[in-house]
C-alpha cells in the first residue's frame, strides 16, 4: 500500500533536477575506480563524476543533513569501498558541492595538487590508536605515593563526604597522570613504524588519540607493536586500534585554500 508513495518520490527526484541539485561528496580517487555499491548518505545511490583523470564519488544531497548514526556509517562505508581499490582522498562528513559543474571545475583546476596528494597516500592506510585511562593500578599508586597514602589514611580516620571527594579527586588525578605518561611512551614507540603521525585531541578520559599513516605491508607489524604496548601498560591505559581507514588524517584539509588565499 505504500508503493505509490515510494514511486512518487523517485519520479520527483528525477524530474526536479538533472542539473541543479546539490551533491554530497564522499571523496576523490583516480579515475579508474569502480562505483561503490554501498548506499550513500540518506540511502542515495553513489555515482562517480570523472574529470582530468580524477573522479569524485557523489550522491544526491539529502534535503536535510544531520549527523545520524546511519549516515556517518554510510559515509564511512563508501570511502572504505574506494580505499579498498587504491588511494582515495576522503572528504569530511557533510561536504556538499552546490552543483555538478562546480565539482568538475574544481577537479580540473586543482588536478595537480589532488593527484600529488593521492600519490602521497598510495599503498598506505590510516590506523588510529586511542588510549583511555584505566584505574587498574590505583592501589599501587596510593601505596607508592606518600601524599596520596597519607591523604587516604587521614580520610579514613575522619571520613566524610568532602574528604572522600578530595581523596577521590586526588586519586583520579594521579591515575590520569600515569595514563598520560604511558600514552607518551606508546606514541614514541609506534611513530618510528609509521610514514607519518598525527595527534588528535585528548581529554581527561581519552589521553591518547593518534593516527598513523602506514604502508599496508607494515600493518601487521604495527598491530603487533600495539598489542605489545597494550600488555605492557594495560593497568594504566586501554589501547584500541581502529583501521585500516581511508587516510582522513593525512590529506591536506584545504588544498584550494593554500593555493588561493
Amino acid at each position: 500500500m505504500t508503493a505509490p508513495a515510494t514511486t512518487g518520490t523517485a519520479v520527483d527526484a528525477d524530474a526536479a533536477a538533472p542539473a541543479r541539485k546539490a551533491l554530497y561528496v564522499y571523496g576523490i580517487a583516480p579515475a579508474e575506480v569502480r562505483t561503490p555499491r554501498s548506499p550513500g548518505v540518506d540511502g542515495a545511490p553513489v555515482r562517480l563524476l570523472t574529470e582530468s583523470g580524477l573522479c569524485a564519488a557523489v550522491s544526491d544531497a539529502p534535503p536535510r543533513l544531520r549527523p545520524r548514526r546511519r549516515d556517518l556509517l554510510a559515509h564511512q562505508a563508501v570511502l572504505d569501498e574506494l580505499a579498498a581499490q587504491g588511494p582515495v582522498l576522503p572528504m569530511r562528513f557533510a561536504v556538499l558541492s552546490p552543483r555538478p559543474d562546480t565539482l568538475l571545475a574544481q577537479l580540473r583546476s586543482d588536478c595537480a595538487h589532488l593527484t600529488e596528494q593521492l600519490d602521497g597516500v598510495r599503498g598506505c592506510v590510516e590506523l588510529n590508536v586511542k588510549g583511555t585511562v584505566v584505574p587498574g593500578h590505583f592501589a599501587d599508586l596510593v601505596r607508592r605515593d606518600d601524599k596520596l597514602r597519607s591523604l587516604a589514611l587521614r580520610t579514613r580516620r575522619r571520613p566524610d563526604y568532602e574528604a572522600n571527594v578530595r581523596l577521590g579527586e586526588a586519586i583520579a588525578l594521579g591515575v590520569r597522570r600515569e595514563a598520560r605518561r604511558a600514552a607518551r611512551e606508546v606514541v614514541d614507540q609506534l611513530a618510528p613504524l609509521a610514514v607519518r603521525t598525527v595527534r588528535g585531541t585528548t581529554d581527561d578520559e581519552q589521553v591518547l588519540s593518534a593516527s598513523f599513516l602506514l604502508r599496508s605491508a607494515d600493518e601487521t607489524r604495527f598491530r603487533e607493536a600495539v598489542a605489545a604496548r597494550a600488555r605492557a601498560c594495560g593497568d594504566r591505559l586501554t589501547l584500541s586500534v581502529t583501521g585500516p581507514l581511508p587516510c582522513y588524517s593525512f590529506v591536506d584539509p584545504r588544498p584550494a585554500a593554500s593555493a588561493g588565499r
Binding site: 569530511r92 562546480t102 590510516e126 572522600n164 586519586i171 583520579a172 581527561d204 584539509p253
Partner: protein, 171 residues
C-alpha cells in the same frame, strides 16, 4: 596472575563508530568552493560523550575503593602481582574500568541513536553489582578498627546509588 590485564583490559577493541567519529567529522578534506553543512548539535554531541571521569561520582567510587585497601602497614616493598592479586583490588580495578568504559559507550550510543532502548543498559548494571557486593562480604583481612568506621562512611555517600541497587534487587 594478573589475568585481567590480558583478558579484559588489553584486548584491543574493535573499532566502533565512536572511534572514527572525530576523524569523519574533523579530518578529511574540505574544499573551499564546496559547502560544509553546519551540523547542529554536533559539538554538544562530542563534548557530552566525554564528560565521564572528572565527576564527583567517579571520585566517590575511587575513595570508596581506596577505603577498602589495606594501608595500615607499609606494603610498598610488595611486588606488583601480590598487590593486584588481592581480591579486593582486582575486582575494583576490573569493575571500575569496565564501568567507565560502559558509561562512555552508552552515552555515545544514546546520543547517536536516540531510538535505542535502555533495557540493555539496566541489565548490564545489575550484572556488575552483586559480584562486587559478594566480594566485599567475604573479604577476610579487614582490620578490626575499620569496621566501626564503615557505617558512617556509608552514611556519607549520596543516597541515590544504594537505593538504585535495591530497586534492581526487587525486580
Amino acid at each position: 596472575m594478573i589475568t585481567y590485564d590480558d583478558e579484559v583490559v588489553c584486548a584491543p577493541r574493535a573499532g566502533t563508530l565512536y572511534d572514527v567519529l572525530e576523524l569523519i567529522l574533523d579530518r578529511g578534506m574540505v574544499i573551499d568552493v564546496f559547502v560544509r553543512v553546519s551540523l547542529v548539535g554536533i559539538e554538544i554531541l562530542k563534548v557530552d560523550a566525554r564528560i565521564v571521569v572528572a565527576s564527583v561520582d567517579t571520585y566517590l567510587r575511587f575513595a570508596e575503593a581506596c577505603n577498602r585497601l589495606d594501608l595500615e602497614h607499609d606494603v610498598r616493598s610488595k611486588t606488583v602481582p601480590e598487590m593486584f592479586g588481592s581480591p579486593v583490588a582486582k575486582t575494583v580495578g576490573k569493575a571500575g574500568a569496565r564501568r567507565t568504559a560502559r558509561s562512555l559507550t552508552d552515552k555515545v550510543r544514546d546520543v547517536l541513536a536516540p531510538e535505542h532502548d535502555r533495557e540493555e543498559e539496566a541489565e548490564e548494571e545489575s550484572e556488575g553489582r552483586p559480584r562486587e557486593r559478594a566480594e566485599r562480604g567475604r573479604s577476610p583481612q579487614r582490620p578490626r578498627g575499620r569496621t566501626a568506621a564503615r557505617p558512617r562512611d556509608d552514611d556519607d555517600r549520596p543516597r541515590s546509588r544504594p537505593r538504585r541497587r535495591t530497586d534492581e534487587e526487587d525486580r
